[in-house]
Symmetry: C2
Subunit: 161 residues, 2 copies
């Protein structure tokens, strides 16, 4: 089995695939008479293609047995997809560049503290990989007509250690 | 001082003002090979008026001293605004019907468990009212040009007990 070693999730390393959603380094300002701090515009939401609309949903992910085995990659040709965890539990993020219509070499990241991700439209990624516990994520993605899911089963067994 | 007594936040009671975002009663289905449950399309996002776009932000609210004193109501003429807490701490939600361009009689609600709210476009509401601790909320609202904030100071001192 091919093994991937996850790297810490950082804005710079993840930039080719989308945005890391985190508070450090975010634009922020006080609102509501100083009682609230607004960390502003944390992701590039792109959900309007072909008559689409933004959806707010919640995904409840079961933890994976470790070492985690990767099964398939997927992408959403019509919209971005943001994941914002309700906890600071670490989870895995696996992405790949597109190589001629299929995923290229996989890259794995692990979160540290409260970090979300926004996958840009049409970026190959693995479905949610919670680790230690059931984890809830707010998800902002695209609703509407059209085929917005492409899946690619992984031929070579791949794990994360 | 006029006093308001908060009611439990329910979908039915809140329906004239927007949606309660909660898991009970939501449309749900399994995805990702059964490893994830999707609670689907929990709010009516309305952020595209006059060239607007959906924003994802995080609001960090300081707790209010109790009894909570209400200072002003506000509304967003160009877009909805969704608040999704990162915790299950209770907080207050205060809304009002529009009476000829100003807030009518105020209604107060208190959350129970993990509940968010989505204020429909142009609905009068009070800014965030956290109670016991600093509370973080994912916020999905509208970005873009145009005047999207109207405020109405409350002439009569009003509190919540």
């Amino acid at each position: 089995m091919k093994l991937l070693q996850p790297r810490p999730l950082t804005r710079e390393a993840f930039a080719p695939f989308g945005q890391v959603i985190e508070l450090e380094g975010a634009t922020q300002f006080a609102i509501n008479g100083g009682t609230t701090q607004r960390f502003h515009d944390l992701a590039r939401v792109d959900t309007l293609a072909e008559g689409g609309r933004p959806l707010i949903s919640l995904f409840r992910a079961q933890p994976r047995a470790q070492p985690v085995r990767l099964t398939l990659m997927e992408r959403h040709p019509l919209g971005s997809q943001a994941f914002l965890p309700l906890s600071a539990q670490p989870y895995l993020v696996v992405v790949a560049p597109d190589h001629g219509g299929r995923p290229g070499p996989l890259q794995a990241f692990v979160t540290c503290g409260w970090q979300g991700v926004n996958y840009d439209r049409n970026v190959w990624h693995h479905p949610l990989l919670a680790l230690e516990a059931v984890c809830d994520f707010i998800v902002v993605d695209r609703g509407g007509e059209g085929c917005n899911l492409e899946e690619w089963p992984l031929a070579e067994p791949t794990g994360i250690f």
